[in-house]
Symmetry: C2
């Protein structure tokens, strides 16, 4: 923060018995100066703010990217056993997937479980419909591709099959 | 942007032949007003800037997180064949790893290839040393864990084994 001090550089008080004219001229000069300094500060601040926003984004990008490095490391580790033991790879990759889902949750975007929920176009993307016994019309019958993020901050809506009344 | 117009609300010119005192008093009132408005604008701008930085970070976090969703989708897809064909899983996971490396590169953090490069503590983290025929002392003999990001914007240094002179 720069040293903006509007209250401290208050307009000068009238000085009793001083020649009115000279006093007012001084007051005008001081006010002009105070005003110009504040305007210059506003100008500087605009420029700095634009830089702060850019830098904030860069920091965030790096931080989020960093949170994915362990996922990549473990994916590579899982593949190291590829030739000797493919089954071990499958186990390892399952663990990595769970880890990746955890990273997204930590970033504020937990994986959604929309199965059986009432269909809501705000958080669901209908890819097809299905009808059948045991299905409640207007609910999500199947999640084709999971969504991420809470209802009020959806990162990606779930692609779902919606149950409809049999026609 | 709000309507900051410092140049437009310039201090009033002296009006010829008008009573000097009343003129100066008006000038003072106008200057005080202009100054106070600029100061208020500066204050508002400070608050808005803080909000802009926070919002910029949130947008960046969501954008970067979104770029990883295809990696998760493909990881899941690769695992769908797990029981029937473990070898296909391995192939699929290799492709996902390459995709993940691509996501990091797109974010500005390409995977580094530090093998054989001169050891540089700014971009390398030495985890051990090795000496032997064919190894150039002071170079990276082996990358234990890859680094990401260009030299001037390292996301994570590479963990490396450094070649040393045989003792």
């Amino acid at each position: 923060m720069s040293d903006h001090e509007a209250p401290a550089t208050e307009a000068p008080e009238d000085v009793e018995n001083a020649p009115e004219d000279a006093d007012k001229a001084r007051q005008i000069a001081e006010l002009e100066d105070a005003w110009r300094r504040t305007a210059a500060e506003l100008d500087n601040f605009r420029k700095r703010c634009a830089r702060d926003v850019v830098r904030g984004r860069e920091q965030e990008r790096a931080a989020v990217a960093t949170s994915w490095l362990p996922v990549l490391d473990n994916l590579e580790r899982a593949l190291e056993h590829a030739s000797s033991d493919p089954d071990a790879v499958v186990e390892g990759v399952r663990a990595v997937l769970a880890q990746a889902v955890g990273v997204l949750a930590d970033l504020g975007f937990p994986r959604r479980d929309d199965n059986g929920r009432a269909f809501d176009p705000a958080v669901h993307e209908a890819v097809s419909t299905v009808s059948g016994a045991g299905l409640v019309p207007g609910t999500v019958a199947q999640v084709v591709r999971p969504g991420y993020g809470p209802d009020d901050k959806i990162l990606r809506p779930a692609a779902v099959v919606v149950a409809t009344r049999a026609s």
